[in-house]
């Protein structure tokens, strides 16, 4: 018998015989506050910043003034004129000197300020991690309440890589003092597109 079969056989012999049906996942969303307000609050709590904006032009204007030091700005958002657009075939190592990446997210989650991003919209898996600073654009109507809604929205979607990003990279491994910017972005800002 192969290793695999042996392991599986022992597991089969030893796993409990009692049936344990899967529970329902039925958690009503907390609607005590508008999702957008909750998201902004949660984001501030984990070290992120947010801007409510009405269109891409407004985003452009803020990027110009808020990141004066940024030399290399990369964006994967087609609607954004500022910044270099990335090809999916680029060598991810060449992203090491990116100062600011501006990406879009499929949706955001109010309860924890996480944003769902997949490979097809960032082009390069490494981009949101290797950049020194990160800005993410999300539509206001795409702010969901909780993680259950998030996975309902993801459904059976096929992706090579997907990630929830919540705030700048951080560590508290030295005496539990929080430091922003462990290996990934040192800052994170979310543009909430309200359309009006």
């Amino acid at each position: 018998m192969s290793n695999r079969d042996q392991i599986l056989q022992t597991i089969k012999n030893n796993q409990p015989a009692t049936a344990s049906p899967l529970p329902d996942i039925d958690f009503p969303p907390d609607v005590s506050k508008p999702a957008c307000d909750k998201f902004i609050e949660a984001l501030a709590g984990i070290g992120g910043a947010s801007h409510l904006v009405k269109d891409y032009e407004a985003i452009n204007a803020i990027i110009k003034t808020a990141y004066p030091q940024a030399k290399r700005i990369v964006t994967t958002c087609a609607a954004l004129p500022a910044g270099e657009h990335l090809s999916a075939d680029a060598d991810p190592h060449a992203l090491d000197n990116v100062d600011l990446a501006v990406i879009t997210a499929h949706f955001a989650v109010a309860e924890n300020a996480a944003l769902w991003v997949t490979e097809d919209i960032v082009q390069q898996r490494a981009l949101p991690f290797i950049t020194q600073q990160l800005a993410v654009i999300v539509k206001k109507e795409d702010i969901l309440n909780n993680m259950h809604q998030a996975y309902q929205r993801i459904g059976a979607e096929d992706y090579g890589f997907g990630t929830f990003i919540a705030g700048p990279s951080k560590t508290a491994d030295i005496e539990q003092s929080l430091v922003l910017g462990a290996h990934g972005p040192k800052t994170m800002c979310v543009f909430i597109l309200s359309g009006k």
Binding site: S2, N3, R4, I7, L8, Q9, T10, I11, N13, N14, Q15, P16, A17, T18, S20, P21, L22, P23, I25, F27, I46, A88, P92, H93, E111, N112, A113, A114, R125, A126, F129, I130, N146, M147, H148, Y151, A156, D158, Y159, G160, F161, G162, T163, F164, A166, G167, P168, S169, K170, A172, D173, I174, E175, Q176, S177, V179, G181, A182, H183, G184
Partner: protein
């Protein structure tokens, strides 16, 4: 560092030699526990979430072999290569084989308690492979040639001046600069160079989804992603109990994990790896290493539900005052004390006794493992299996007391749980048998009984 000739009470005594440091350790972990409480309380359906998570995991245990086959099928279809290892040795050999096949002799690794359990780093080093741990806490302890002392906070036993000294020695940082911001920046520069130059990355796995063949890795630092997305080959090592049935179940576990671990609403990154990057390879090693045996132990199989959040460590009065290294096993704390004897009863006979059985661990566990009951049951098994003399030889003052007065601890546990809510300072001091045993504090002005009578209304 080997502790083979040491047992928990002796090692705890060593840790207790530096009293202010022990106090700091105790208070800091308690503070993490308080943050967890705050996060839990912010979710009205918290208890229902725990119950749901626990029931999903029960379902996993009852259908484990089927889920693993399904996962293998899906992952393979996604282009991931699946390997099976019956023990740590096989796991290590598989990893080495993959690296050698690609002619790679340097690798970055993000946090994986499984590789600690398998002693992968030592093994690879013996075979000429350099491994760099990239989690900041793990990198610190790696430089110091120490094992992590906590599954979530690997360097929690160290103070910032220790880190400063270590970095001064290894990274030539300014001597005496203890600023965490400065030290983290130094590590960032040091490790970024590694990420950019290493062709292989190994990560752990938090959850693997049978339905889709994807696996999820959670970090705050982004080190797992930095490693994996820049490497030609990504190896993920996983204890097979990390499997969950469906993708939507991630919603339950991701809501619980970080809140239980550190009080954060979610880790900064929850990365879902489903297919290898174009031109790169992705491998997953499914490891048994005693897990199938534990699955067959009716009283202890629930320990396999663990999602490694570390909440039971932070709340445990014994862990907080004895430190992770006193458990002389990769996974310390209450849950480690249940997992270790399954692997080697003789070597770890002391661990189920490193507990007051106060039950606080079971109360915080996000997947509702009956941790303190299992510790109690292990004690009985160990006595029955003839390890009583081994245990006695350890000269465990507190332990003999525990054995002869189980009723006291049950009482202390109940009262303790109540008092922890009402007056945590009492637990941290007078009621905690660990504290008492250590330095006999001046007697309280009124006995706990009197205090309780007066304050219970």
């Amino acid at each position: 560092m080997s502790h083979s000739d040491k047992d928990h009470p002796k090692l705890a005594e060593q840790f207790n030699a530096d009293e202010p440091r022990v106090d700091w350790h105790d208070e800091t972990l308690w503070w993490v526990r308080v943050k967890r409480d705050k996060a839990a309380r912010s979710i009205p359906e918290w208890e229902q979430l725990r119950e749901t998570a626990s029931r999903i995991k029960n379902n996993v245990l009852a259908n484990l072999s089927e889920y693993l086959i399904q996962f293998e099928e899906q992952a393979t279809r996604n282009g991931i290569t699946v390997h099976w290892a019956k023990d740590g040795k096989e796991h290590n050999a598989i990893v080495l084989g993959l690296l050698q096949k690609h002619g790679i002799d340097r690798m970055v690794k993000s946090k994986s308690m499984l590789t600690e359990e398998c002693h992968l780093n030592d093994y690879l080093q013996q075979h000429g492979i350099e491994v760099i741990d990239t989690d900041l806490g793990e990198r610190i302890v790696q430089m110091r040639k120490e094992p992590p002392s906590h599954i979530v906070l690997p360097a929690i036993h160290l103070k910032k001046q220790d880190v400063s000294d270590t970095f001064h020695e290894h990274l030539q940082t300014e001597k005496g600069n203890n600023d965490p911001q400065f030290l983290t920046q130094a590590a960032r520069i040091h490790l970024r160079e590694k990420f950019l130059t290493r062709r292989a990355a190994l990560t752990g796995v938090n959850f693997a989804v049978a339905e889709t063949g994807e696996f999820v890795v959670c970090t705050n630092e982004g080190n797992a992603d930095m490693g994996a997305h820049l490497a030609d080959i990504h190896i993920a090592s996983m204890g097979f109990e990390k499997i969950i049935p469906q993708r939507r179940h991630l919603s339950v576990f991701l809501r619980l994990l970080a809140r239980s671990a550190t009080g954060q609403p979610i880790t900064t990154y929850s990365s879902h790896f489903k297919k290898p990057r174009k031109g790169a390879e992705m491998h997953i090693v499914l490891v048994d290493n005693g897990r199938s045996t534990q699955l067959g132990r009716k009283d202890f199989r629930n320990s396999l539900k663990c999602i490694r959040c570390g909440a039971c460590f932070n709340t445990c009065p014994v862990y907080r005052r004895s430190g992770g290294h006193s458990y002389h096993t990769a996974i310390a704390g209450p849950i480690g004390s249940i997992l270790a004897p399954n692997l080697d009863m003789r070597k770890y006979a002391d661990l189920p006794f490193a507990s007051t059985l106060c039950g606080s661990c079971s109360n915080v566990c996000p997947v509702k493992i009956d941790i303190h009951d299992q510790l109690y049951k292990w004690r009985q098994v160990l006595m029955k299996e003839g390890y009583g003399s081994t245990i006695k030889k350890m000269g465990m003052k507190g332990m003999t007391f525990t054995l002869s007065h189980p009723g006291f601890y049950q009482f202390a546990g109940k009262a303790g749980r109540w008092a922890m809510k009402a007056a945590p300072f009492i637990i941290n001091n007078k009621l905690n048998p660990w504290y008492k045993q250590r330095d006999m504090p001046s007697p309280p002005k009124e006995s706990f009984g009197e205090w309780y009578k007066k304050n219970r209304k």
